[in-house]
């Protein structure tokens, strides 16, 4: 048994470099998922604000379902369901055997879909926090819808959404750990591999926990900065 510093160091027997790479993978997959969630969330918010009855019911169902079922199931669905579809497609094209989906893509999409459900609620709330008078004023000076969206709605809604976005980002970061079950080498998967080959599970999982804490602390700080910058023109009571 080697001691902890050597185990997690960057020497020939150290796992340091691998853990750093895995951390970058966690950041990459969480960021992709979060970005996808933002797009979906914006669509959901739009559907719930402006959509007709049918679209609204669809958006409601999406939010309710994705917030009610376990994230693990969604990841399984995307990974195994995606592989199932790809295999069927490959068979149609004449290939044989099993075709697996990329675990990064499946994981990022799964976590992104879940994140979209949360971000939809968030964006809707942020939109409603914009003073109605501003929208009316913009319309009365004859702004086209896209310009109004770009100049009036987005900057202000985003500002109100920042604290909530910080929370949703932390959720995505933590949910990204579940992607390890379909084999993506992010922090938790790398820790499992290390734990298995060195028989020091505690050392590896506690390192994983520390890395997650580090990521969430640093990004929490970043979001607080962003909030301070975004709110600098707002007078507080």
């Amino acid at each position: 048994m080697i001691d902890y510093t050597e185990l997690m160091g960057f020497g020939p027997r150290g796992w340091g470099l691998l853990m750093v790479q895995a951390t970058l993978m966690t950041v990459a997959v969480s960021a992709s998922a979060f970005a996808l969630g933002s797009v979906l969330g914006a669509l959901v918010a739009w559907a719930r604000i402006e959509g007709n009855r049918l679209v609204r019911i669809g958006a409601d169902a999406y939010t309710t379902v994705l917030r009610g079922i376990p994230d693990l199931l969604v990841i399984y669905l995307l990974y195994f369901g995606g592989s199932e579809a790809l295999t069927a497609l490959a068979r149609l094209l004449g290939a044989k055997g099993f075709v697996g989906v990329n675990s990064f893509a499946a994981g990022a999409i799964a976590v992104g879909i879940i994140s979209g459900a949360y971000q939809g609620e968030l964006f809707r709330g942020a939109y409603q926090a914009i003073a109605r008078g501003e929208l009316e004023a913009a319309r009365s000076v004859g702004m086209p819808r896209l310009l109004l969206f770009r100049r009036i709605i987005v900057p202000q809604a985003l500002r109100f959404a920042i604290p909530g976005l910080g929370n949703v980002w932390q959720l995505a970061l933590k949910e990204s750990a579940l992607i390890s079950v379909v084999g993506l080498t992010e922090i938790l998967r790398q820790a499992q591999v290390g734990a298995g080959s060195t028989r020091q599970p505690f050392a590896f999982f506690i390192t994983a926990a520390v890395l997650y804490l580090l990521l969430s602390t640093v990004s929490g700080w970043g979001f607080r900065r962003a909030e301070a910058v975004g709110m600098r023109g707002v007078r507080r009571a």
Binding site: P70, L72, F80, S83, A177, L178, L188, Q200, F202, A208
Partner: protein, 239 residues
């Protein structure tokens, strides 16, 4: 549509419901006790109690539940002292490890909810109770708890639903609750979509029942909301 397969799948999945509910129920129960303790530690105003509670909440909210589960299930076994201790018969079992991880995790989230509830009680009420000569415990029991509970209940209901959802992670350490059974069927049949729909429906029904239960409780605890509730059922005025 293969109805035979769907029927078989639902029946198999339903056999996992008791374990899912068992994990959710006992972890929420034990978590609530721990959460009250943590909330009181944070509100004590004494740094010796406040700081450890703060650190606890930071660590358990900042790391993924799955990491906590692995740390307890695989990690603790690394130490010979623990393997030889009296706790080992429990910590060896995936059920107790999952229950412990879920409990510690929900305690961190719930303590913040409970703290918010307690803080929401207006100070004037506490002052009035003191002026009447109530003891601290009596104030807590008669003034703080009933009012704080009302404020905390919606957020706490959310936490209960989230926990029910989180019990799925127990499947990763071999427990055969609903998600565990679902992933086994998927691995055997490669019919992810059908199994997903069945398992998803089970979770949605469970969570729907829970949220109805919470709404009922909210109504019972907040008589002033009942009037509003009655108005909600009035037909909408014509526009």
């Amino acid at each position: 549509m293969d109805f035979h397969f769907l029927r078989e799948t639902v029946l198999l999945l339903l056999s996992g419901v008791p374990l899912s509910l068992n994990l959710a129920f006992f972890s929420i129960l034990a978590g609530a006790v721990l959460a009250v303790l943590l909330a009181l530690m944070r509100l004590s105003g004494n740094p010796v109690l406040d700081l450890p509670a703060r650190a606890y909440v930071f660590v358990f909210r900042g790391t993924p539940l799955l990491v906590q589960i692995f740390l307890i299930y695989y990690g603790l076994g690394q130490f010979p002292e623990i393997r030889q201790s009296l706790l080992w018969p429990f910590l060896r079992e995936p059920y107790w490890c999952a229950l412990l991880a879920l409990t510690l995790n929900t305690a961190a989230y719930s303590s913040e909810i409970i703290r918010g509830g307690i803080l929401s009680v207006p100070f004037g009420q506490i002052e009035a109770a003191r002026a009447c000569g109530m003891s601290r415990w009596l104030i807590f029991r008669r003034i703080t708890v009933p009012q704080g509970l009302r404020v905390a209940l919606p957020a706490y209901g959310n936490e209960i639903i989230l926990m029910t959802r989180s019990t799925a992670l127990a499947s990763v350490i071999t427990l055969m609750e609903v998600t565990g059974i679902a992933s086994k069927i998927i691995a055997e049949t490669f019919r992810a979509v059908e199994v997903f729909v069945c398992a998803g429906a089970i979770y949605l029904i469970l969570n729907f029942a829970i949220s109805r239960g919470i709404a009922f409780l909210e109504r019972r605890l907040s008589p002033q909301l009942r009037e509003q509730g009655a108005q909600d059922h009035l037909p909408e005025p014509a526009r």
